[in-house]
């Protein structure tokens, strides 16, 4: 027994570490973890309780009829209003509290290029330009009204 005491001490140290790990795990791992998957189940309710930021297209049309009508028949009909104007639930609830943003003139060329920059991986029929050669310095909206682009 005397000659294996050092081994027993090391084994005891391992047991202490393992118990410490189990205690830490008990304290750190959220109670709802793993109930419905490899994540914290309570997160679902917490996310549900977060305030809405996007109002959705149907909230824009009743007030902004002209733009909605123009866009409905245009090539941009699939793009939601808030894709360009930002999250606007607050504006929908109290229109005067927040003025919707729109891409600034100076930034517009980079903004439009997100979709319309020439790229081999885009379908060939999709309108694409090289912004460095295509009317440099001119805001896209001067020729292509964004609600009804041509």
């Amino acid at each position: 027994m005397k000659d294996i005491r050092h081994l027993l001490h090391v084994a005891a140290a391992f047991v202490v570490v393992i118990i410490g790990f189990l205690i830490a795990r008990h304290l750190v791992v959220p109670k709802s973890f793993g109930r419905i998957g490899h994540y914290r189940a309570d997160a679902v309710d917490e996310i549900k309780a977060l305030p809405l930021r996007y109002a959705g297209e149907q909230a824009c049309a009743p007030c902004h009829r002209a733009q909605a009508k123009a866009k409905a028949s245009s090539r941009h009909k699939g793009i939601r209003c808030e894709s360009c104007h930002g999250a606007l639930q607050a504006h929908a609830e109290a229109p005067s509290s927040l003025k919707p943003a729109k891409p600034k003139e100076g930034e517009m060329r980079a903004f439009c290029a997100r979709c319309h920059e020439k790229n081999l991986s885009r379908p060939a029929k999709f309108p694409q330009v090289d912004p460095r050669e295509h009317n440099p310095g001119v805001a896209c909206s001067q020729c292509h009204p964004p609600h009804q682009p041509k």
Binding site: K2, D3, I4, R5, H6, L7, H9, V10, A13, F14, V17, F21, A24, R25, V28, V29, F33, G34, H38, E107, R109, A110, F111, A113, R114, E117, N119, L120, S121, P131, R132
Partner: protein
């Protein structure tokens, strides 16, 4: 969106050739992921060399036994760092233990790592050094060091012949367990790449085996080089029977690793599946220098030739030393290139099999060259510290060079 972002995108697009998918523009696994299998490989190789003496009784390699264990430990302690720096979320290293995800190979790797570090390597080193630790805990004049040794005795200073004999038996048993653990540790790294079925450059069941043998070659080369360097630095005789034997195992590991790689290449070339065209373009183009020249010619063929010469002819001691160290340096560079070719090379070509992306390494960023160099040299700093705390040169392991 900021205009400068578009400029960066345009610049990156100009370096792309052929057709690639948008999400393939940026290489996700950077130079740090090259470093990670390289470092774990050195761990596995060093440990396997140590086990030769312990399990297979290859007594000639005894002078490198402790050094191999310390090298394995130094590199193992740093091995997860490149991954953590790459992720930028170090707390995840603890999260994989707190909430283990059994279906993730990468997450389970944490357990393989801890098992190998805690249950195998640390205990084995402790058992091997216990006699000295007890002696140092009494005789060391520098008190923090003495306290460190005192803690390491775990309150027992019994070094009776029977207790040491028990230590030896337990140590031997641990090495027997440790050997498959070391194989698992590095086989696992190969497994992670080999199981990515979307990438034909990686997805082969041979990947864990190829990684393993190249790991053995790199680990043995590393120990050989450090051993020779330390002997030179400490003005001690290099035990020629020791390095001759180590070189034999080094050559064996190199031959097996190279043959497996060639078999795999041959098989891919002969099968010539739909991905073969892009892979041959990759090897003939972007990877020509790093694969054909550095990995195969410089890192495998030249060392095999030099080590082969030492086996075939009775070369003088001096020549053998030069050949051994040159082979070790070349194959260490070659194996680093192999990791590069696998990790970065495998991300160069598109899943469309019709185009290539590019990789421009940052200099000083989080995943840049400086970061990789620091992480690459860090194990050597840890090794120096370990050599200071646990000097491996016992009274019988080396003998001083006699004055001429």
């Amino acid at each position: 969106m900021h205009a400068s972002y578009m400029e960066t995108l345009r610049e990156a697009m100009s370096m792309v050739s052929g057709y690639i998918y948008p999400n393939e523009l940026e290489l996700q696994w950077s130079v740090l992921i090259v470093l990670y299998p390289y470092i774990t490989g050195l761990v596995a190789g060093a440990f396997i060399l140590a086990s030769l003496e312990r399990v297979f009784n290859v007594t000639a390699v005894k002078p490198t036994y402790r050094l191999s264990l310390l090298m394995a430990l130094a590199f193992l302690l740093i091995a997860p760092l490149p991954l953590q720096v790459h992720l930028g979320q170090p707390q995840r290293a603890f999260e994989i233990f707190m909430t283990p995800n059994t279906s993730s190979a990468m997450a389970m790797f944490g357990f393989v790592y801890v098992w190998y570090l805690m249950a195998v390597l640390l205990v084995e080193i402790w058992l091997d050094y216990r006699r000295e630790i007890v002696a140092w805990s009494k005789s060391e004049p520098f008190w923090p060091k003495r306290l460190f040794y005192k803690l390491l005795t775990f309150g027992v200073d019994n070094v009776s012949p029977r207790s040491l004999a028990i230590d030896d038996k337990v140590g031997r048993a641990l090495t027997v367990i440790g050997l498959p653990s070391a194989v698992l540790l590095h086989g696992y790294v190969g497994f992670i790449f080999g199981s990515i079925k979307a990438n034909p450059w990686w997805s082969t069941p041979l990947m864990p085996v190829i990684f393993l043998f190249s790991a053995m070659a790199s680990g043995i080369a590393g120990v050989l080089l450090v051993y020779m360097f330390l002997c030179w630095a400490r003005d001690e005789h290099i035990e020629m029977p020791c390095i001759d034997t180590v070189a034999k195992f080094f050559l064996t590991a190199l031959i097996v690793a190279f043959t497996l790689e060639m078999l795999e290449t041959l098989q891919t070339a002969y099968e010539a599946e739909e991905h073969f065209d892009i892979i041959s373009l990759l090897v003939e183009g972007k990877l020509y220098f790093s694969m054909i020249f550095v990995q195969m010619f410089m890192g495998s063929l030249i060392p095999m030739f030099l080590l082969g010469l030492c086996q075939l002819f009775e070369l003088p001691e001096k020549v053998r030393k030069v050949f051994y160290s040159a082979s070790a340096i070349l194959s260490l560079i070659g194996i680093l290139a192999m990791r590069w070719n696998v990790v970065v090379g495998g991300q160069f070509f598109s899943k469309s099999l019709r185009g290539f992306t590019t990789y421009k390494m940052e200099l000083a960023g989080r995943e840049g060259l400086v970061s990789a160099l620091v992480l690459g040299f860090m194990p050597l700093v840890v090794l120096a510290l370990l050599l200071y705390l646990l000097p491996p040169w016992g009274e019988s392991a080396h003998r001083r060079k006699e004055p001429a």
